[in-house]
């Protein structure tokens, strides 16, 4: 099972990025691809900043507002690339009080990994999903920071990294 990072989906939709074709091939080639709510939130955020694109699609689709257009685009992308959204459940008691499990895991992972917050959160979602019984063995990403800590990720999460590289490289 493959956890798909937002960067791969965005790469597949970005005509200016040299990784676009590889991203599309990867998304079309692999089965059992999953995403988290963090991927959906990042996609919504990316779309909100591509305001002209969003408004143009909203008008083409005859929708009332850009939020509905954003939801339609995200649902279309999930369906188009056969990406399954997995709901993560659960809270834990911690020294800080009650914490949503992905946040708890993100904090715990800082012990072994030196990563940026959003990268850490994606890994925390993978850990939470694995705790729910999902057999995730690969993280598909265009973010090189994950590749830099692949050995640690193998040890901590038993997950390998599939990194998109630009065609020109």
């Amino acid at each position: 099972m493959i956890y798909v990072d937002t960067s791969v989906i965005v790469a597949a939709l970005d005509p200016t990025d040299p990784r676009r074709e590889e991203a599309r091939k990867a998304l079309e080639f692999h089965d059992n691809k999953i995403v988290s709510e963090l991927v959906i939130a990042e996609l919504a955020s990316v779309l909100a900043r591509q305001y002209k694109v969003l408004i143009s699609i909203k008008d083409k689709l005859g929708l009332d507002d850009h939020m509905m257009a954003s939801m339609a685009i995200i649902l279309y992308i999930l369906k188009r690339f056969n990406l399954k959204y997995i709901v993560v459940r659960g809270f834990s008691r911690t020294l800080f009080g009650k914490l949503y499990n992905p946040m708890r895991y993100a904090i715990e992972l800082t012990e072994g990994l030196r990563l940026k917050t959003l990268d850490l959160l994606h890994l925390a979602y993978i850990k939470a999903m694995k705790e729910q019984g999902l057999l995730i063995n690969t993280l598909l990403t265009a973010d090189t920071d994950f590749k830099n800590v692949e050995k640690d990720l193998q040890e901590l999460l038993r997950v390998s990294i599939e990194l998109l590289t630009p065609v020109s490289q």
């Binding site: 937002t6 960067s7 965005v10 790469a11 597949a12 939709l13 970005d14 005509p15 200016t16 990025d17 990784r19 990042e42 990316v46 779309l47 900043r49 591509q50 694109v53 699609i57 083409k60 689709l61 005859g62 929708l63 009332d64 509905m68 257009a69 939801m71 339609a72 685009i73 649902l75 279309y76 992308i77 369906k79 188009r80 940026k116 917050t117 959003l118 990268d119 265009a142 973010d143 920071d145």
Partner: protein
């Protein structure tokens, strides 16, 4: 516009809320409260229906244009740059 009587089974919690709103005078009766709940729900359901139809239209646009009809120029560079700043 005609109307019909429909029997529905409600769980205790929802019925308690309905009765509380009637008691507070927000609604005149259980029927009035439930009609309003359904109207609010129907508005949301119509939005869901519109989004579902829009998803189908995006697939039609892909067929017409021969490519995914969502083009986000420079978006990956922006996303990865944001992660640097986060």
């Amino acid at each position: 516009m005609g109307s019909k009587v429909v029997s529905v089974r409600l769980d205790d919690e929802l019925l308690k809320l309905v009765d509380e709103l009637v008691r507070l005078g927000v609604y005149g009766s259980r029927s009035e409260a439930l009609r309003d709940f359904i109207r609010i729900g129907a508005r949301y359901a119509r939005q869901i229906q519109m989004v579902a139809e829009a998803v189908n239209k995006l697939f039609e646009l892909e067929k017409e244009e021969g490519d995914i009809p969502v083009r986000l120029e420079g978006a990956l560079r922006q996303l990865l740059g944001e992660r640097e700043r986060f």
